[in-house]
């Protein structure tokens, strides 16, 4: 699919490689080099073969291995997404439940209002605010950057991750919180919770035993979508904090018409998004036996 879409784009990569001043011979030689003189079917088989060998080619611009470069960028993007995700979960789940359970109290309402504010704030603005406060005024944390030696310089790498993760986590957490609250409200009004209470379970006991399981199902599908969009959506955060991640690699590759890099990043991120979707499905089935049953009958 990805292969076809990229090939459908007008223009020959050989031209992009050489610029318009190139001679016919140079273009022919470059076509042979990138393989765009072959029929599409042959190109496709070659592409599949390369993918199977995990060979994503070399960049037109930097002339470095695409896979190696993606690996380097992943060392930033994966931990960043993961920590951001943890922050979001740590915020959204407890606060979302409190906001629902105590929706009649002032602080329940306050949480709802503040989360609405969190959704409205653009992510780069929040990033700049955090940098101004924690880096420039308080000098507690670095304003950005990733150490030259990467994770081998663990202390510097991890402190550099705190502010960007917090930024992603706060924004992601704010929207997640709304879903957690809505799901919890649904559960609170449900018959099974009333039944559990009637059978003698205390309110927290019933909520944790029955409520969380039921409320988690819709929240997990949202989680999956949020997580997937963070991979490439982190490009703004990467810019504000000068992090060499996957998003900035894709942006630069598009600007430079570096097709092998574009194709490589899209391939790997598509794969990741599919994996996340798959993991979210599995998690939902583990939590909700009804989904498991339906899957069996469908199969």
């Amino acid at each position: 699919m990805l292969f076809v879409l990229l090939r459908l784009l007008p223009g020959d990569p050989a031209n992009a490689l050489l610029g318009v001043g190139a001679t016919e011979q140079q273009i022919a030689a470059a076509r042979a080099q990138v393989g765009s003189d072959q029929p599409l079917a042959v190109q496709f088989i070659g592409f599949l073969g390369n993918i199977a060998r995990l060979d994503l080619g070399t960049s037109f611009v930097s002339r470095a291995s695409v896979l190696g470069e993606i690996g380097n960028r992943m060392a930033v993007t994966l931990p960043l997404t993961f920590f951001g995700f943890l922050v979001a979960l740590a915020l959204a789940i407890p606060l979302g439940i409190i906001a629902a359970v105590r929706s009649d109290k002032w602080y329940g309402a306050a949480i709802s209002v503040i989360s609405q504010l969190g959704i409205a704030i653009p992510v780069f603005w929040l990033g700049i605010l955090l940098v101004t406060l924690f880096s420039i005024n308080l000098r507690w944390l670095p304003s950005g950057g990733f150490p030259l030696k990467g994770w081998a310089n663990f202390g510097e790498a991890i402190t550099g991750m705190i502010l960007p993760s917090l930024t992603i986590g706060l924004v992601m957490g704010a929207s997640l919180l709304r879903y957690v609250r809505a799901a919890t409200l649904d559960v609170l009004g449900s018959d099974f919770l009333r039944t559990a209470r009637a059978l003698g379970a205390s309110f927290p006991e019933a909520l944790i035993r029955h409520g969380v399981r039921n409320g988690a199902v819709p929240v997990i599908s949202i989680l999956g979508i949020e997580l997937a969009s963070t991979f490439l959506g982190a490009v703004v955060i990467e810019r504000v904090f000068s992090l060499p991640g996957l998003g900035s690699m894709l942006l630069l590759a598009i600007q430079q018409r570096d097709y092998p890099n574009v194709q490589g990043v899209l391939f790997v991120s598509t794969l990741l998004v599919l994996l996340i979707g798959f993991a979210a499905d599995i998690a939902q089935r583990l939590i909700d036996p009804r989904l498991r049953g339906r899957a069996r009958t469908l199969a």
């Binding site: 950005g144 030259l148 600007q255």
Partner: protein, 494 residues
């Protein structure tokens, strides 16, 4: 550089250093962290690596036969001595003794021949390829001697050779590694983030005054300024916005230096097409541009007004700002004389990055006053290169020209702006085949005055070159000609 020389240089630059800094000794093994917006795309300056590679590698990792110093003069580097034949068509260079590459191989004449041929090769993307096209042969009679023969006299040969990095002819892949002769060798390089240079302890010349240099790359100017504010970098190679300077100028923890720049902001017309083939139209637009107000709105009190394409650091500079001074009434009169009493309409292809969009809007408002309607068309840098530079398919465009000594572009009628004045073409050619530098300067000064009279382009202003550093860091280049940034004299007090 000694402390005294440094003090002198700093005073000349019009900046006072706190006495406490001068009293302190520097750390000979210090790590100098340089913040920059220009990351190289790869490490080969003949493979489209961009200006970043010049900033990081020129003079630091690679050296050439000659060096363009920060002050703008050309001095021998890897050359011990050289002489030109009577007719100026044969140059004989003797190489310095005891120079070795980082790999340990000694420098030989074969390396020089190989390196020049890399730049002039058909596949080379070097911007200097054309200036070396008069070379017809390179002989290497022995290991220390290089003989270059030319098809025509070329007074700028030593200058042009300062762009040719001498690379070990045994080096294989220099897009991701290096093998030069400079005071530093490449350490680690993390794409999208940073590049480290380590001191070369076997360097043939004077040892650097620091232990290592780390170029840290940013895509966002605010993030770069924050890094300096929070002590994550020691020096910023070139500040791109005056707004950010306020946080450094009043603060004793930082030093702000304004040096001489060669970067010109230019409104280039396509002189081949109407109405810009008419000199009166071009002069009218020049007179309708309040350049002082434009420069002030973009750079505040920094930057310089220029009356032609030549910056004050070029030897053929003369002040030509009085040729077409700001005068709306005379602009209207000129337009009427040219046959456009009610003005006209044109499309201004504007690169999508700063400061061009702001400049375009300014010009739109200015030219509306004389009845000229400007349609702004925003394009990417890539489109600029293919549509304008290569295909010449445009009416007018904005561009910054960074190179030193680039008035010679006006002597090339095939250049993108299509300015074709046979007198200038001849002067530029004659200057190149001049017998002496005095003669070269005389010819190019004449050419300079003619392009100003012809209003060949609308030279809006000269960018300032502003370097900001932590106050304990000194010895960096302040002019940054051709985006060079020699790091070997930088000292850091601790």
């Amino acid at each position: 550089m000694t402390t005294k020389a440094l003090l002198l240089a700093t005073l000349l630059a019009g900046v006072a250093l706190p006495a406490s800094v001068l009293a302190q000794d520097f750390n000979p093994d210090a790590s100098i962290r340089i913040g920059s917006l220009y990351e190289p795309q790869n490490l080969d300056n003949t493979a489209g690596a961009g200006q970043g590679i010049n900033e990081a590698f020129n003079g630091n990792v690679y050296e050439a036969l000659f060096q363009l110093t920060d002050a703008g003069s050309v001095e021998p580097k890897l050359v011990e001595s050289y002489e030109a034949s009577e007719d100026g068509l044969t140059y004989t260079f003797t190489l310095k003794d005891g120079v070795t590459f980082h790999s340990g191989d000694p420098l030989t004449s074969a390396d020089v021949k190989y390196s020049i041929e890399r730049v002039t090769a058909e596949t080379s993307k070097s911007s200097r390829k054309k200036s070396l096209s008069t070379i017809t042969g390179i002989e290497t009679p022995d290991d220390k001697t290089v003989v270059i023969t030319l098809s025509a006299r070329s007074i700028s040969l030593p200058y042009n050779l300062s762009y040719v990095w001498i690379v070990n002819d045994a080096a294989t892949d220099i897009t991701a590694t290096e093998d030069g002769t400079g005071p530093y060798s490449l350490g680690e390089w993390r794409r999208g983030s940073a590049l480290a240079l380590e001191r070369n302890d076997n360097y043939w010349g004077e040892a650097p005054t620091n232990g290592e240099v780390i170029y840290t790359y940013f895509t966002d100017a605010t993030a770069l300024n924050n890094a300096l504010l929070t002590n994550a970098v020691d020096v910023i190679t070139s500040v791109q916005s005056p707004d950010s300077l306020a946080q450094f100028t009043g603060n004793p923890a930082f030093t702000v230096t304004e040096g001489a720049s060669t970067t010109k902001e230019l409104l280039a017309y396509n002189d081949r097409v109407a109405p810009f083939d008419n000199v009166k139209v071009r002069k009218a637009l020049a007179r309708a541009t309040d350049k002082a107000r434009l420069l002030n709105s973009i750079w505040g009190d920094y930057g310089t007004l220029i009356g032609s394409f030549v910056p004050p650091t070029d030897p053929w500079y003369v002040d030509l700002t009085g040729v077409d001074p700001y005068d709306v009434e005379s602009a209207k009169a000129l337009l009427a004389e040219a046959g456009y009493p009610d003005g006209f309409e044109f499309t201004l292809d504007t690169p999508d990055y700063d400061p061009h969009p702001i400049v375009a809007q300014f010009l739109q408002a200015e030219y509306a006053k004389i009845g000229v309607k400007v349609n702004i068309n925003i394009i990417t840098a890539n489109e600029w290169y293919t549509k304008i530079y290569q295909a010449h398919d445009f009416q007018a465009t904005l561009q910054e020209h960074v190179n030193h000594r680039d008035i010679v572009f006006y002597g090339n009628p095939d250049f993108y702006w299509g300015y074709n004045n046979p007198e200038v073409v001849k002067l530029v050619a004659d200057a190149e085949s001049a017998g002496s530098e005095a003669e070269q300067v005389e010819k190019l000064t004449e050419a300079n005055k003619i392009i100003a009279e012809d209003a060949a382009g609308n030279w809006l202003y000269l960018y300032p070159q502003i370097v900001v550093s932590a106050a304990n860091v000194t010895g960096y280049p302040i002019n940054g000609l051709n985006s060079q940034f020699f790091a070997y004299d930088i000292e850091k007090a601790e």
